[in-house]
């Protein structure tokens, strides 16, 4: 019985409640407490990775306690190679959010920190749960802090954005809940493993696949249910955008890998072209949409949708590989790529939103047109911004390259055209990202307000520096990450191509 995962979940939640209880009057203590809690959580994530057994696809650090005996629902936790890196990512990304808010958030500070800490615990819970009911419990509970974060600390249209965000996700989730309950009624238990082993007819699988698709596609988000994301991102405070892009979107990808593929393999095989088509539309069409954005946050939001297209493409392209080559050779690369892309996008998009936050704190504008020539006054910032922008276009040596490259190679095995279309992103991504950098960072200083900008302070330097190191390490040496995932990915492939009929 390991309690490590429980600590990872409940430590930040407990700290969040404590910060809330301390209130704004004791915010100095509260702030340090929040930082300490987020660092402690990150510290707990280190042994999680260090003691992880990379030879087995079984769930590790299992914890199994009775929760609701009547439903055969357990407080059951455990991680494998897919969920463990995402938990580490969650623990890692919360720290910059806490630091970035240090002086920036002026109102209801205690509640701000509490919301992020509680959300961190709930997000880790989503990845750690091995019981579907517990998974859903965290999955939905997470909406509450995010709803408040966007609604309280957001921009002018925050109410519209946050209600749209909540209702979109809620709509997707309730149908997933209906599907989970249906499987519970058949299987007599809520454990995810029992769902994966449950024999289901093709028509049942289709319905369940559709319900999952609704939930996860909204979360990823896939075209055409992506419209909540640009609104939510633009209106959210910097920390909200970072968590939204870095972690919350990953839950959709995680859901596909954990639920859709193993539980409904036949429906996934049958409907894979739907997912691949939607992914390619996201990659290309949303890439074009990103090109014309005037608002930096909106541009990065659309870029996120486009990049997340690679995750869904990588997850489902295996069926096309089997179909065209008759073997599973190379199919693992797609899933590997999807996973690396998720981790990498978490770091890169989080970092880009933090960069925008740095500029926004100084000028209170997100419009690209208000900037220009930032490099002249903020050279250090410019260096980081360019690095993250290059990672966003998938430059070799950065983490962005690894994921996209793996997915493109895998889709080449399936069909030349998939990889050709997916590779368009290399051009489009470079176009919108570099154009953004050109207009914001380079060029002559046009506005007097830009001329008065001050470069990064120590706090910002630490945050962006840590992210830059992570982006480069994964870009240069992705092997440890791939090694951690390997047995789980193999196991997932065998589940996903096996038939339940």
């Amino acid at each position: 019985m390991h309690a490590l995962l429980s600590w990872l979940i409940w430590l930040p939640i407990g700290a969040g409640i404590l910060v809330l209880a301390l209130g704004d009057r004791n915010i100095v203590i509260g702030r340090w407490l929040a930082l300490a809690a987020s660092l402690a959580t990150l510290g707990l994530a280190v042994p999680l990775w260090a003691h992880f057994d990379t030879t087995t696809p079984l769930l590790q650090y299992p914890q199994h306690l009775p929760w609701i005996p009547r439903f055969q629902a357990f407080y059951a936790l455990g991680v494998d190679g897919i969920s463990m890196p995402l938990i580490v990512l969650t623990a890692f990304m919360t720290v910059p959010v806490v630091i970035a808010a240090w002086r920036v958030i002026a109102t209801r500070v205690a509640q701000y920190y509490a919301a992020f800490l509680i959300m961190e615990g709930l997000m880790i819970g989503v990845f750690a749960a091995s019981d579907a009911l517990l998974f859903y419990f965290f999955w939905e509970a997470m909406l509450i802090p995010m709803f408040l974060i966007i609604g309280i600390w957001g921009g002018p249209r925050r109410v519209y954005a946050t209600i749209k965000f909540f209702l979109y996700t809620f709509l997707g989730s309730v149908f997933m809940l209906a599907a989970l309950i249906y499987m519970y009624v058949k299987a007599g238990s809520y454990s995810i493993a029992s769902f994966q082993a449950l024999p289901l007819s093709l028509s049942e699988q289709r319905w369940i696949f559709a319900a999952f698709m609704l939930a996860f596609a909204v979360k990823v988000p896939m075209w055409p249910v992506h419209t909540w994301l640009p609104d939510a991102h633009v209106e959210a405070p910097t920390g909200g955008s970072v968590i939204l892009a870095a972690i919350m979107l990953k839950m959709g990808g995680y859901g596909f890998l954990r639920f859709s593929l193993p539980i409904t393999p036949d429906a996934s095989r049958e409907l894979d072209l739907l997912v691949i088509a939607l992914s390619l539309i996201a990659v290309i069409y949303i890439g074009y949409v990103a090109l014309v954005q005037q608002d930096m946050k909106k541009l990065i939001a659309y870029s996120s949708i486009s990049h997340m297209g690679f995750v869904t493409l990588g997850a489902f392209v295996m069926y096309e590989i089997v179909r065209s080559t008759g073997s599973l050779q190379g199919a693992g690369m797609g899933v590997d790529g999807a996973m690396v892309q998720m981790v990498s996008h978490g770091l890169v998009s989080g970092a880009l939103f933090l960069c925008v936050g740095v500029l926004y704190d100084r000028l209170h504008s997100r419009q690209i047109a208000d900037y220009g020539g930032v490099v002249n006054t903020m050279p250090m910032f410019a260096a980081f911004m360019v690095l993250f922008a290059l990672a966003n276009c998938g430059l070799p040596g950065t983490s962005g390259f690894v994921g996209e490259f793996l997915v493109i190679i895998a889709s080449f095995r399936a069909s030349f055209w998939y990889s050709a279309l997916a590779a368009v992103t290399l051009i489009l991504g470079a176009a919108y990202t570099l154009w953004l950098v050109k207009r914001v960072v380079f060029g002559p200083v046009l506005s007097p307000r830009v001329a008065a900008l001050e470069d990064l302070n120590g706090r910002e330097l630490i945050v962006l520096g840590a992210l830059a190191v992570a982006v480069l390490v994964i870009g240069v040496w992705p092997a440890p990450l791939l090694k951690v995932m390997q047995p789980t990915v193999h196991h997932l492939l065998s589940q996903a191509v096996a038939t339940k009929l």
Partner: protein, 477 residues
């Protein structure tokens, strides 16, 4: 066996009758000088009654009393205890409100106790006559409570509406009962259940239809819901709080005793009728709630929407379904108790906090009330980690078990529609700035503490839903 102990299972009702008589006398002699006295004594009477019920009212198995007209079982004990608790908390929340409106009179508390007596009678009914007795005792007390603020035209109007429509429903109930009695030759619910088997005669189905209409009226299911928004909005808020809580338990018992137990043989018919009612109720309740500007009225439509879910539990037609409906009822009354409590506490002398706009920026004026309200709203919206989530989950589960695919889909879609207007309340409290100078909310430490406990219970029962789920299942089976 000792003759007095024979009636021990009915101790709660006997105690209530005594307490009502004594309180009426005390009120006459204490008069105007000691206004709070009756209120305090009522709470004491409720506590003693609950204690007596726990000590002497427990039964090991189903026990029939009073020539089979009265049934004592574990379900009855649980429902009565819940009703005692709800009435006590409701009266506690109302005290300051009643004082501010100069309607703090002994009769109010006596009427609350007679209503509670009606609830207890209904919960333990085992004969058509006892059912009717309970229904009327409860209804007549509540009519008077709605009209209690006699100088308020709105209250009088809603009391009148309630009374006229309620009388029609009572007539319908009696007519249905008379048909069933005529065709089975018995008033006893057990005997009726034994004598009604398919194939059913047209007369039985006709009688059943009238009974279902009356039950739907009492619960507030569409299209028999017309009274509910007007009464909720027009009644003094303390009375709305009262109507929205303990009587729901009684009407759950009404549906269970009459339909699921007495008319079990006609299940195939009434589940279909209820399914149609549930669909209408879910759609109308949720959609109409979207456009309300008055919080009490919005919560009235939210009540209707929630009733839709309770009815869905009955549609399943299995013991699990009834247990789900019971659990949903508990979850709903707990939230209802808290949300009307917030309305009571947010008001002040001469200021009724019943418009949605009165809640703008509540968070900065009164964080505790806002936090409690947020918890309650998320709970009714069905978001974990609150109890409302499990209530909905349980209903979905029994619907799947009985293969009601389309009802699951509809209920799921309607919970999303419903989420919008609950979120709007949170938006007003947390995202909007306060407008104008509003009178400070009532500061009553004890009552505020009770409200905090109420909201905490919604959270605690959401984190660990097991025990209450088990209790509901056990008392039904």
């Amino acid at each position: 066996m000792d003759q007095t102990l024979l009636y021990a299972p009915a101790v709660a009702e006997i105690w209530l009758v005594c307490a009502i008589c004594v309180l009426l006398l005390i009120e006459v002699f204490a008069g105007e000088r000691r206004r709070g006295l009756t209120a305090t004594l009522t709470l004491v009477a409720l506590a003693v009654g609950a204690a007596l019920l726990v000590r002497y009212g427990q039964v090991r198995e189903r026990t029939l009393l009073f020539d089979g007209t009265y049934l004592a079982d574990e379900l009855g004990v649980v429902l009565k205890l819940a009703a005692f608790l709800l009435v006590a908390v409701a009266l506690l929340y109302s005290r300051a409100y009643l004082e501010h409106r100069n309607i703090q009179r002994g009769e109010y508390y006596v009427l609350a106790l007679t209503a509670l007596l009606g609830i207890c009678v209904l919960v333990s009914a085992n004969s058509l006559v006892t059912v009717y007795l309970g229904v009327e005792l409860l209804a007549l007390s509540v009519y008077a409570m709605v009209a209690f603020d006699r100088d308020s035209g709105v209250s009088a109007e809603s009391a009148m509406k309630y009374f006229v429509l309620g009388a029609i429903a009572s007539g319908t109930l009696l007519y249905g009962m008379s048909l069933i009695y005529g065709l089975t030759g018995s008033l006893d619910l057990g005997t009726i259940a034994a004598r009604l088997h398919p194939p059913l005669s047209g007369g039985v189905v006709l009688g059943l239809t009238f009974i279902v209409v009356a039950v739907a009226f009492k619960l507030g299911a569409v299209p028999f819901h017309m009274w509910l928004p007007d009464v909720y909005e027009g009644a003094p808020t303390s009375v709305t709080l009262f109507i929205g809580t303990a009587p729901k338990i009684a009407y759950f018992a009404l549906a269970l005793r009459l339909l699921a137990q007495g008319l079990a043989g006609t299940e195939a018919q009434w589940t279909q009728m209820l399914a149609a009612l549930a669909v209408l109720t879910l759609v109308v309740g949720n959609v109409v709630a979207l456009v309300q500007t008055n919080l009490k009225r919005m919560l009235a439509y939210s009540t209707i929407a929630n009733v839709g879910f309770i009815v869905l539990g009955f549609v399943a037609g299995t013991p699990d379904g009834y247990a789900a409906a019971l659990y949903y009822t508990f979850a709903y009354v707990l939230v209802s108790l808290g949300s009307f409590g917030v309305i009571l506490l947010a008001g002040a002398k001469g200021f009724e906090a019943d418009q949605l706009d009165d809640y703008k920026g509540l968070h900065s004026r009164d964080p505790l009330l806002a936090a409690a309200m947020m918890v309650l709203m998320f709970s009714t919206a069905g978001v974990p980690p609150f109890i409302g989530f499990w209530a909905k989950l349980r209903i979905f589960q029994v619907l799947w078990e009985t293969h009601h695919l389309w009802l699951v889909v509809l209920a799921a879609a309607m919970s999303v529609v419903g989420a919008y207007y609950y979120l709007r309340v949170i938006k007003l409290m947390y995202f909007d700035e306060p407008v104008g100078a509003q009178p400070a909310a009532l500061r009553e430490a004890g009552v505020r503490f009770a409200l905090g406990v109420n909201a905490a219970a919604v959270l605690a029962l959401g984190l660990l839903p097991g025990p209450l789920l088990d209790l509901c299942a056990r008392v039904i089976h």
